[in-house]
Symmetry: D5
Subunit: 124 residues, 10 copies
């Protein structure tokens, strides 16, 4: 079972008339490999164009910390976080990208996206 | 209440016939978190194509320094600075981007844009 | 003779409804130059949009290790790995890129691609 | 008064049939701030697709050195150098970009362009 | 007189059905300035999509070494190498880019291209 | 008048039998130039060998924030912070180093030290 | 209560006649702040000159992972790990250094050492 | 004739009881080669332990700017600046180091020192 | 069984009267973990002051390649290579240092030394 | 036969009363391998404390260029250049260090020194 998206707090977008970009870089994400039971470590990039709601940083941090002792695969957790944020914020566009530390000489990056990309450089 | 845009001085664009790009990188911006009362630190990128007016560096510096002890959120201050510069300079195009220092293992980037992006690489 | 693609294990794509990107960076690839018999070293980037199957990391590692004592040219091995992965995973899109260490003051990069590139930044 | 463009020497483009790109990075440019009388320092990027003429490096260096003790603003000098080079070389396309050292915690980049950008990566 | 393109050896493209990209980075190129008689140093990037032939690394190295004591200008040598490789390999697309060391506080980059650029990221 | 050292909280050194090294890197220090009234920005390195007391991070942060609107010179503030920490903690050895942002093309580093340097690499 | 040092496995030093240096860099350490209950992240450097025993990597990893959900301060955990390794291995010399991620704009490094430093560069 | 050391302003050392280190990094120094008449560019590092006097930054900047159009060799100017600062400040120890931009594929560093080096890391 | 040191060729030191330093950086070393049977990758630094003999590069390369399919631990192989080189060359001083790629979030460095270190900076 | 040291020009040391350090970094050195006949490339660091004479840059450049087509080993050429400079300049102390480009996955550094090292940081 994954962490509860209800931990995610939102506040009203202060400038909803403009399509501007908000990007959070999370340097300290950790979960557990469901196969080996050993910890995994990643950084996350969460980038979006808000509609009516922006995500509050404190709640985002608590929501992500709740993955600390959950067993979940790279591909799955990236999509799960995207789905939770989309459900809570209803953004105009959003991407979640996770970059994982080396395992067996290989490191992995996963990127999942929601909504039609706008003509913004940050949406790259 | 936000700083007074009247501090922003302008001088006539010396080459208005050409759509050229001016980009200021502000290395020393600080404001205050309205929730915690603690200082926030950022760097700013202000990039524009001038129409009749260019912003004078001294006044830009003084205007930005006036945020030093104001409580204002990341998303808000980025849009407020863009609005003030747009009102004062009436540029053909402008972007304001703020990059904030780490809080709780997360750092944030906000980018807001005014006007239709021209076919200039710097406008990326 | 090249390594057996049957070593490659696959697991069901947990979010097949979304075109998301998976990228593996292999830091420790080595094969043998068929002309000189001396070892070659490379890093690989394997990037794809899964359809029904994702590649399992352990099997990928074992498959790639099997090139350790095979004689094969840069251009050939890059295409051979792409072909094997495409046959096993049937991805919606995939690229394999190899970057080789310096030989005679020259280093080489090979990139081969399968399928129509989607409108995803990672597909660059 | 700005330096004399006649110092700029040109030689015939050895391969005029091809739209190829020439880029000079000038690491040692200095002029004087007309307001404070204090020295300014910049690096310049001069990038063009030649038509019949290429700029000779020795003359380019001497022309740029002649700004050493002139008072001129960032925005102005960038456009003035572009105009002088365009007049002398009549290139198919050209850009001049200046990057200035820090003043009051802010550093500035100016970019001015002449002609329709060709479909060349360097023209970015 | 420039080095003999006959030194360039070719081998059959092992995967001609696919438009894949081959990129050689030459770290040790040197020629002579025809004006001053002093040595020049550069790195080269040679990037192409092969048709029927690939260039062999040993011969490429020998061909490029033959410029060691030739007097030739930056702009000329870049185009000459491109012409020789195009004539020998008949690639679907090719670019040659040379980056020269600092002379008089200026360093120079030249890029020449042959054929219509394909929709490949490496062709950037 | 400088900030009150009483804001500095201390806790008992958990391993006083060993001469070990504690180093805090403060990324967000700002004070005011007493001559121009304009803000100054610095990073601080505070490194010490504790005796009976260690400095608590929260209090250190609050103490340093209290310089935000004080006018004080580079040389002075570095020594003042060292004196306050020494008085509060009575460390076996301590160094305070401040690195200031560029002013007029010059950036400055100040380092002040208390006590006889031990034979520890960190004390360098 | 801290993790059990019995998880640490040792193997006989294969070259005990020579004072040589072994250094492990642990990129993925995490524990919990005992005050706030929030996760802390660090990298560790463990460097030693073995006597009769070397630490086995698998057991070292498991021992360090056991701190994942323990509340313990920076200064304490660094000394605790050093004490556990010294008790298990009886090295001729050892240092443990921890580098912690940013909290409140400050990052911290702790270094604790056991035994007389030998005349080896790595012992710095 | 070299610039007048009288431009150098000094202020009383605020903490003369302590041997602390002051280091100024000058990013924008330029003079003229007495042989070729062409500009030279350097960065300077000026590091000292003050006795009764500290150098004021504004005056230091003006003194150094006065070399802008003087012909003087690398080796000479470094010693001349050291002599002027020593005469004006009478420091307990001082070093002046100049790093010059590339000429003919060679760049040069000159370092001159005054007084017995103290046991301070910065004096390295 | 380890590779045969007889593969190591030596040539007479051309300047035996002087204690000078020779340092080889080997970027492409690989052996096999004796426990897991999986490949290990390392870079080596071999640094010495020759007496009568210098090691020939070609033979050094062949000797090191012979570890490609041997099972041997990090600590052991580093000492074995040092012993082989010392026996063959009888250097006045020598160090062998190996840096291994990440395994389980940990990377390891081993350094072994022969002979009394001379007063040479490279011997660090 | 090696190049003629008579090409080396010297000028009188302008500050012989002081032991100051002069360091030249040569970015563009090339010679020929006497065994294979293929070009070698290196950077050189020449660092000294002058007595009565300093080396003139133009002559140094010409002297070093004369190795361009000579066959000479790494170890030999480094000592030969040191001997030539010592004979011409009679410095109080000197070091010559050469760093060679990669051959067969190995790059090499040679350092040779003349005279007793003074207590100067640069002499490291």
């Amino acid at each position: 079972m994954v962490p509860d998206p209800d931990r995610l707090d939102a506040f009203p977008n202060p400038h909803p008339a403009r399509d501007y970009v908000i990007e959070h870089h999370v340097h300290e994400f950790t979960s557990v490999c469901p196969k080996t039971g050993r910890p995994d470590f990643a950084t996350l990039r969460i980038c979006y164009i808000a509609d009516e709601l922006c995500v509050e940083l404190k709640g985002l941090k608590l929501y992500l910390e709740a993955f600390r002792n959950r067993g979940i695969f790279y591909e799955d957790v990236t999509n799960v976080i995207l789905d939770a944020l989309v459900e809570r914020l209803r953004p105009r566009w959003m991407v979640v990208e996770s970059t994982w530390s080396v395992r067996g000489g290989i490191h992995t990056v996963i990127r999942a996206e929601h909504g039609a990309r706008k003509n913004h450089p940050e949406t790259k």
